[in-house]
Symmetry: D2
Subunit: 353 residues, 4 copies
Amino acid sequence: MNFFSDNTAGASAPVMAALAAANDGTATAYGTDAWTGRVERLFAEIFEHEVAAFLVASGTAANSLALASITRPWGAVLTHEESHVADDECGAPEFFSDGAKLVGLPGAGNKISPGPVTQALARMREGALHQVQPQAISITQATECGQIYTPAEVRALKDAGAPRGLTMHMDGARFANALVALGCSPAAITWQAGVDVLTFGGTKNGAWAAEAVIFFQPEAAAEMKWRRKRSGHTLSKGRLIGAQFEGLLGGGHWLELARHANAMAKRLADALIALNIPLAWPCQVNQVFPILSAELQTKLKAAGVGYLPWSQTALPKDIPFAEGETIGRFVMAFSTSEADVERLINVFAAAKG
Amino acid sequence: MNFFSDNTAGASAPVMAALAAANDGTATAYGTDAWTGRVERLFAEIFEHEVAAFLVASGTAANSLALASITRPWGAVLTHEESHVADDECGAPEFFSDGAKLVGLPGAGNKISPGPVTQALARMREGALHQVQPQAISITQATECGQIYTPAEVRALKDAGAPRGLTMHMDGARFANALVALGCSPAAITWQAGVDVLTFGGTKNGAWAAEAVIFFQPEAAAEMKWRRKRSGHTLSKGRLIGAQFEGLLGGGHWLELARHANAMAKRLADALIALNIPLAWPCQVNQVFPILSAELQTKLKAAGVGYLPWSQTALPKDIPFAEGETIGRFVMAFSTSEADVERLINVFAAAKG
Amino acid sequence: MNFFSDNTAGASAPVMAALAAANDGTATAYGTDAWTGRVERLFAEIFEHEVAAFLVASGTAANSLALASITRPWGAVLTHEESHVADDECGAPEFFSDGAKLVGLPGAGNKISPGPVTQALARMREGALHQVQPQAISITQATECGQIYTPAEVRALKDAGAPRGLTMHMDGARFANALVALGCSPAAITWQAGVDVLTFGGTKNGAWAAEAVIFFQPEAAAEMKWRRKRSGHTLSKGRLIGAQFEGLLGGGHWLELARHANAMAKRLADALIALNIPLAWPCQVNQVFPILSAELQTKLKAAGVGYLPWSQTALPKDIPFAEGETIGRFVMAFSTSEADVERLINVFAAAKG
Amino acid sequence: MNFFSDNTAGASAPVMAALAAANDGTATAYGTDAWTGRVERLFAEIFEHEVAAFLVASGTAANSLALASITRPWGAVLTHEESHVADDECGAPEFFSDGAKLVGLPGAGNKISPGPVTQALARMREGALHQVQPQAISITQATECGQIYTPAEVRALKDAGAPRGLTMHMDGARFANALVALGCSPAAITWQAGVDVLTFGGTKNGAWAAEAVIFFQPEAAAEMKWRRKRSGHTLSKGRLIGAQFEGLLGGGHWLELARHANAMAKRLADALIALNIPLAWPCQVNQVFPILSAELQTKLKAAGVGYLPWSQTALPKDIPFAEGETIGRFVMAFSTSEADVERLINVFAAAKG
């Protein structure tokens, strides 16, 4: 019972099939192949907008390349204090950007809001040579606590950054999960809401290793080909990523996988609530964050249930927390079966019974 | 007829099969999976030596991580002036090493030799604060001109660098091809000859995207886990690379693929010599470098033959070169069939006929 | 009436005299001159400890070189969220360290304490590849709010960092002011209390541009000569800095200057308190931070008094703050005369009268 | 008898006087002082062109900031293989530019010429992702071998770089010496000949530590204030540099000092030629490079004459070189007296006699 993350699964069957199908014959290298070309066009269709798309094999690379593209070394990126880019990439954004600064903002459920953005900007004097200059906002969709930003919330953040001309990046490692939860169009939650650069995650969605950096102003991507190459992220056999994305995006497969994972999470969340096990944050996508008593933790461990303990920093203020309690993160992947969830629910039920 | 590179093929059937077999079930992430663990042990067996092995998806990353691990930002790496790391990675080694310097040395066939190493060292005053400090030698095995270093030649370079304590890196993007051509053991051409860090190439050999940085003094790799993560090269679904390597290394498949590619090259080279088409450098591995007259170039183009024009910098001094001539690089992949080569030979024969 | 900073003055007369005296004849370059050599030995005497001292012309350089020397690019420095290194150097520490992270901690008067250090360390998992690794603590002595750390407080911070082996850096831009206020020996507040690397500030103390990075474990400074050169901070005519320091340090001149500046600040602080103008933080060194009503601000401006508005982030929680109030920073330099202070006090008195 | 370099002297009397005069009263910090402002305008007058001028204390910083401003991290700077920026700054340009590449070109007397520029450009494919992109040319005026570029030669280099849009940087550590030797206007040898950015050297000319980065298109300097601050080169007491430059530039003092140093060199060169001691390169500025026999070397050493052995890389091809010979570099500073030169000539004469 492995609920550690949605990166513990392999690839979905259609992704594997697409990869196998792509294995014949020769193709030009370094992302000039036909698969990659088709995927780049697919993204334009999906987002109903001209895009420049750059495929890479890791989310760390995608996020870091994106941030490096929209900051200068003396620039600052406003982001949640526990966002993945700030706290979980071992300083990769700093490496790729030659030393730009990530400024951490507070916010329940790892969501940032206009107030802290405005306050942070007030503390960074415009044009002053003593301080790094704010240049971008980075938000995670859905957040590390499984919370989603609505288009209006994204727009409000963009507006809060507008007086200083901040560019907006969205880390969409779980973009598909957020999108199907929102029920809006890909365009509505990205460029129409003010997003300039998107990390489009395929890996957690059902691919092996497939992420895309998508620029909605293609001219802003002029330097990306050198940045990607120079950081070792231009794979020579580019169709490896192109084919995965074709398998994933074709026929709405990616949305279907995300809907399934979200549904599995909903099922667990409903069961936990029925069992009077409180959730740290409401279940909005494919992650569930129950607050686990010491006793529950022991019983889950005994039953061989794998999950991660989670940070309490972004808890809403009104959540009571008792001695020995912890937050557990349970993540549903595209491959999590109903039987897997039922088994887990049964463990919880037995533990509470 | 695509002879541009050995990265235009996909993956060999056993590699694809290993990947498909690895797709079931869940695995722990970020390189802690069973496949990766087994591969790390396999490398120790192959090299008959304790190793620290780090799997990544691109050769640029592998080389750059290796060089960054053995230099300081004010350090210098002595390498051929047209080696891949110096001339074909868009400055990736400089990026990963935070600005270390690659010092280019001359040498026929892109091979460097002790003389130029010693001369370069003489020009870099030891301990002087005005100059970068020599810290490593990097050689390509086989070189970008398809030439191989013997164990004795590697040792001689190591000895030339010894007075300044230089570490030795071998870029083995085509390590398998060189190894089967040499007919020695993997140990003999690496740590026994003085190599400290090896980039072990799987991609050109028959994988999709699988390279390993192999340290023969494992303790020298203490910082690699952070370097790799920070540069975005720690894939979350690590078995993607682990499984490829298992498919490639199992049962000597990698050596078989290399032998095939080398044999295809030998066949072409022999035919060219029989046709009185001179080779810029002798065919030692899976690449053939005929000197093409203007007329031959036209005819090859008309026949739809794909190859790369190649640099003349590393030509031996006694090669005569006529107006309009160019060097063509023809690379045989694991997947190049005898029929492919025959077709190419026929084009040459017809052109010369 | 310029009380903006202690960097608005020139150099003290003995410093100018020492510089003039050093102008004759030739000297070897790049810090190998006799003046620099003597100063390095002087530091060993002052600190009663073997040291490696590196003279530079700016505090930004001294702090950044110090921090770069004790962190890796994936390392983190724990420091106050509004410390000079974190908030006032335009990201210089990130530049010099190739992207290390400064982790900001809260604390009244810009002082950090063991509690927040321990909490921050708890959030950074040891050896985890996903997070930067804590490697150093940096404190400012005296802080940007004019507060001093006692030897016991420094030791407590060092102890808090000890479980993770943190190195301790002290930014002593106003070290002399803090030292004379503490009344202890230079040794007691540095290496005896756990400081590993000190930025010894001469510029604000009475020099033109003279700072020293002092390592109390000289072997830890092995790479500094390259770091300093590579960042352009090895002046060719090194005696420019050496002579300033000789003028400053000779005969206890530096302590005398600091005592004077502190005394001028004490005089102002006492007068403000007598006038019922509250101070944000107690006056401990050469800075005074009155809380200024809107009316006072207007009157100071009208009288041509120069001061900086100061951040309220590090205010103690129990300081009441009314609409329109601000904190003003008034800094006394070595050159601030009693008459200057009297004039300022008169402005305050008239404004309150 | 110290002829090691023109950085072994202190400052000229007018420079010291200007510094002493600047020591009274307070001034605003970080380069906003009146002295710096006046110097910036002085440069505009001297060059008869609008400029953006940035004062710093070291030539390494000035050159590196200049190059970082005109390259991207994946860019290349074409320069002589033994130019100061390539070979004598410990990789500082690489550090400041976040890893850009310096491509070394050959050339007698350390001068580069259009041919090698064109050849280097031909080897760097435009827009190709595999190679760093050429973005600038950097020349030293006068070169490290004391040779000067005429305006026509500078223009020819600019023209050679024009097809790739290369920006031109001139390292003018000895700009004054070159200028008075050329006898042209400062404008003629800089922006009128195609120079975009100039390192204007004051230190070797007679200051303590005063260099300026001068942009002839001021808008190209938009980011310099952050680059300079971030690298620790924005001195708080900025008038330290401003005053030096005022002392140096006022009343043509800088030209007078350069003329004197050049004349001293000419005197030595003429004497050496009369003594049949050959010069490696003709004496054009304030440096003399005799080829010294083993015997001469011994006698100079015995007489206590200080000079540097110099590289033979940039020797013209037709210079014969005997066993044991070396090139000696003798540099005349502003402060070198006629008596100093006479003494040196006497040593040579006695040695040859």
